[in-house]
Each structure stands twice: as C-alpha cells, then as structure tokens.
C-alpha cells in the first residue's frame, strides 16, 4: 500500500464570535483522513463546508482547536515541511506593484534557487500557465483568471512533492479550466500528490483517484468516485429519433423525454429488449443505448440534503 503523504487526525476547528468572542462556531469536526502518496485527492463540499478551513489548517494559516496533521511524515508545525509543499490559496491575490515574473522570482528566492536556475524556472512556469507574454505586466492589470494562473505557477514553481490547491478552477474560463486539469494530470504523471478542493463535481470525477466529501464540517465519506456512488446501474437510457409517429409511436413518445429532435426513454434493464422491439415497431431509429449510473453530483446532493434535513430537525427540536 502507498505511503500516506497527508495524514489528518481528528482535526477540529472552532471560530469564536460575538462581541466578547465567547461563543464558538464549529467549522470542522474531528476530521480524520489520509491522502496517499502520488494520488490526486478531491476535497468536495458545498460553500462553507470546511474545505478551505482544512486546507488553511494544513498550511498553518489558522490553528486547530484539536487534532493534528502530518505532511510527508512531518508535523505541520515543522517549517522545513514547506520546502516540499505547493499551495494555491482560494481566489489568490498577489502584490499589485509586481509583475508576474517578479512575484514568481520573489517566491522562488525562499527556496534557495541559484539566480540562473531561478530565472529559468520562472520563465518555464510562466510558459506552463500561459502567461509567457504577460510576464512583464504588473499584476494590478491582471484579470481574476490570470491571477489564478500566477497562483498555480507559484504553487508548483519549486517542484514540490505535495501540491494543495484551494478551488483551482475558480474564476477560470473553459480554456483555463482545461489547462489547470492538464497541469494536475501532469503532476500526477510525475508522481506528485495533489489535494484540491472544489465544488465542481465533474472536475473531481475526471481527475481524482479518490474524493472526500465534507458537509457541515464533517467528513461524510472517502473513496474512489465510482465507489462513492455505487456501481449499481439505475436502468438504461435509449436515445432515438422518430418522425411521423403513428398510434404505437405516440404511445412510446408519451413515455420519453424530448430533447430537440431526439427522444430519451428510460427503462429498467429487464425491459430493455421489449422497449427496443416497441421502438422498432413504431419506426424509430435507435441512436444509442447507455447504462444509467448515479453521478457524483447526485450522491453529493443527497449528502447535502441529508445534512440540511438533520440541521433543520435539530433546530425544530431545539425550539
């Protein structure tokens, strides 16, 4: 079994609030999980679920109320651990007065690169994130998407073993999202460990070896996306075209969903061949037959709904 790159043990975070800061709101409750070395791990959850809190705790930007964490075998309080970690904050913001090349050079200096190597790495990173031609422009003139790219570049600039990305797709257009996905896949190919938080489930399904779903500060489940949602098919979907339908055709259409010129018919697996026969008889042209599996989104929505129902029940009983 692969070694754990990130080990989180009972991590809990309370935020004080109120005028005297005496009340406490629990943002993260007893989080225990591991991210294996070399895997891409997606941390999923709705806004305010505790994803960023977990990541900030790992980066020591905030401190835990209870629990501990280790990265690459070292406690997170060990500053030397940061040599091997890359971090992209959520909605990153850098010094306005610096150019992208200068900000990367500034960050590279903390990793003790020789001047020549530093320049080469900065130029390489700018090229990698598609900012080669904008590298000498001050960041005050950058769009949100461009800042996100700078953030990604500074996170991987020093070739870290573990890369932690907080909402890396946020603020990016489809092209930018694709480029970030490619970078994450490239990191995986290089054997790096990637932990990233997102609420874009299609990205997680596409990229992650495993995902962890966190809702209301509590980890609801960890596993491969396919394991999480269960492999059991939920029926079959037949995509077909039908023009000039007769009586039998109308009966079939009544059960189907229309999308443009096409129809989708959802049937149980046991009824598939009978349905195909009926469609043939009605003169339909069958375009495809696919197995319907629950998506990560459905699983995710189910967990969120369950958490909200529980919260509502607690509120009612409290009254």
């Amino acid at each position: 079994m692969a070694e754990a790159a990130i080990e989180i043990e009972n991590l809990t975070k309370d935020y004080p609030y109120g005028f005297l800061q005496l009340k406490k709101k629990r943002s993260l409750e007893g989080l225990t999980m591991q991210v294996q070395s070399g895997e891409v791990f997606g941390f999923l959850g709705p806004n305010g679920a505790g994803k960023s809190t977990t990541i900030k705790l790992l980066m020591r930007l905030i401190f835990p109320t209870a629990g501990s964490a280790r990265i690459l075998g070292k406690p997170i309080s060990d500053i030397s651990m940061h040599r091997n970690i890359g971090y992209l904050p959520e909605q990153p913001y850098f010094y306005d007065y610096l150019t992208a090349a200068e900000v990367l050079d500034y960050f590279a200096r903390f990793h003790d690169f020789a001047a020549e190597k530093r320049r080469a790495r900065v130029a390489g990173m700018l090229k990698k994130v598609g900012l080669e031609s904008a590298g000498q422009i001050q960041l005050r003139k950058y769009s949100k998407g461009m800042l996100q790219r700078v953030g990604l570049a500074q996170a991987i600039l020093h070739d870290p073993e573990v890369v932690v990305l907080d909402e890396p797709m946020s603020g990016l257009d489809p092209v930018g999202r694709r480029e970030v996905r490619d970078i994450i896949l490239e990191l995986k190919k290089q054997g790096k460990t990637v932990l990233f938080s997102t609420h874009i489930l299609s990205d997680a399904e596409m990229l992650c070896d495993r995902v962890g779903v966190i809702v209301g500060g509590k980890l609801q489940g960890v596993g491969a996306p396919s394991e999480m949602v269960g492999l059991k098919a939920q029926g079959m979907e037949i995509l077909f075209e039908l023009s000039g339908a007769g009586e039998s055709g109308k009966a079939v259409i009544a059960q189907a969903t229309r999308t443009g010129d096409r129809y989708r018919l959802h049937v149980e697996e046991s009824e598939l061949y009978a349905a195909i026969d009926r469609l043939h008889a009605a003169g339909a042209r069958i375009l495809s037959v696919t197995q319907v599996k629950p998506s990560l989104e459905e699983y995710f929505m189910h967990l969120v709904a369950a958490d909200r129902a529980q919260a509502a029940a607690v509120e009612v009983s409290g009254k």
């Binding site: 980066m59 020591r60 930007l61 500053i79 940061h82 040599r83 971090y87 007065y97």
Partner: protein, 258 residues
C-alpha cells in the same frame, strides 16, 4: 535571517513603487521656500531657522510614513490575503515581521538621508559654507531615524492584534505620551496622591522615551551632543524595538488568518 532579508527588500520595492518617496518632492519645496524666505525674515539666525524647520519636517514626514505605512505592513497583507501564499513558503512568521520591519526602516533611512541632504543644501545656500559644528545636525537626523524605527515597531505591534484605525490611534497616542515621560516622572506628590504619582512614574518607565531623541535645540545652535547619549539612544532604540517586535511576533505567530 536570509528569508527576512528577502521580505525586507520586497517591502522596500513596494514602498518605492507605491511612490512613498514622492514626499521628498514636498520636502524639497519646503526647504527651497524656507531658504529663500528665511534670509528676508530672520536676520542673523537664518541657519537656526533652517535647521529647526528642516529637522521638524524630517521628523513629521518620517512619522507619518512610519505610522501609516507601518500599520499597513501587516494588516494590508492580511486584508488582501497576499500573506497566504507567502506563509506557505519556508518562512516563519517572525521572519516575515522582521523582514517587514527592516524593509520599512530601510525605506525611512533612504528617505531621511535624502531629506538630510536637502537640509544641508538649504543650509549651504543660506550660510554659503558648512562648518564642523553642523555635524551635530547629522546626529539629530540619526536620532530621528532611531525614533522612527521605534514607531514602526509599535505600529506593527498594534496592527498584529487590532484594526488599522485603532493601531494608528494607539501608535499616535503612545508617541505623544512618550514625549512627556520626563514630565510624568516629575509630577510631585504635592499635586497628586503619592500612590498615583508612583503609578505614573512606573508607567513612564514602561513608555518609549521619545524625549531623549530630541536634540533639535542643540543642532540648531551648533552645540555638540555627547557620544554617550548617541550610544545610549542607539542601544535604547534597538532594545526597545527588539522587545516590541518580539511581543508582536508572539501575538502574530498565534493569529488565525481568515
């Protein structure tokens, strides 16, 4: 300390690009106008007026930079969240604070040195020569710089645990209080109760003593300043700043960045 140096150089670059040194234009204008007018309105004491005016301007401009930029050194990085990516690097929080402090002190040193050069130019314009006794003006400028370093440390301390506005008020308040430490120690029990006088005396020793840095009178009149005072003020400013920065570091190292 190398990492603190990296932060310091970037802080200096930030100050330069944020046009902090543009205040020098204002100072140059003040000195030019003063040099031209002073000959017409103050017969025989032109150099005294120029020195007093120049040192006052250096002190006030420096104080404004030290307080307002000093408070923003940490709070701005927290508000804009530029600190997040930085602290994920192998950089300790105290190194960040030390670097920010050193960066602003470097900025103030450059700024003060340029203003001092302007003051000497104005002095030369008025007197048509410079004398050995004018060297005491340099001592006065050095003391102003020590005072500014201490103010930066205080501004950083307050900005580590309170809002920028309150940090400005606290720093300003402490500076003003620090100008009256001798008076606080001199309040006799004839005016207030002995207990209150004792408390006031105790507080006066805790407050930063900014009065000791004021040698403007000696500089204006060409009186020399004892070497012991230079050593004492240097040691005092260094030690007091170190203590203040250590407390700031202890607070900042425990602070949650949200």
């Amino acid at each position: 300390m190398k990492r603190a140096g990296i932060v310091a150089l970037n802080t200096f670059r930030e100050a330069v690009r944020d046009r902090v040194l543009y205040n020098l234009v204002f100072f140059a204008l003040v000195m030019m106008v003063a040099a031209i007018l002073v000959g017409q309105i103050s017969m025989g004491i032109e150099d005294e007026v120029i020195v007093s005016l120049g040192l006052s301007a250096i002190s006030i401009i420096g104080l404004l930079i030290a307080v307002f930029i000093g408070v923003g050194l940490v709070s701005k990085e927290m508000d804009k969240r530029t600190l997040y990516a930085l602290l994920a690097k192998p950089l300790r929080r105290w190194e960040f604070l030390a670097g920010k402090f050193a960066g602003l002190v470097l900025t103030l040193t450059v700024n003060t040195a340029a203003m001092a050069a302007g003051l000497f130019l104005a002095l030369y314009y008025v007197k048509h020569s410079l004398e050995r006794t004018d060297a005491v003006v340099l001592v006065a400028v050095y003391f102003i710089l020590l005072k500014l370093a201490l103010v930066v440390a205080l501004a950083m301390l307050f900005s580590c645990f309170t809002s920028p506005l309150l940090a400005i008020l606290f720093t300003g308040g402490l500076y003003v209080a620090g100008l009256f430490v001798h008076e606080m120690r001199g309040v006799g029990s004839a005016l207030i109760s002995p207990a209150l006088a004792a408390i006031l005396q105790g507080i006066s020793y805790l407050l930063p003593n900014f009065e000791n840095f004021d040698v403007m009178g000696a500089a204006a009149h060409g009186r020399s300043v004892a070497g012991a005072l230079i050593a004492q003020n240097t040691a005092y400013a260094a030690l007091y700043s170190l203590i203040v920065l250590s407390v700031a570091s202890a607070i900042f190292s425990q602070r949650n960045l949200r």
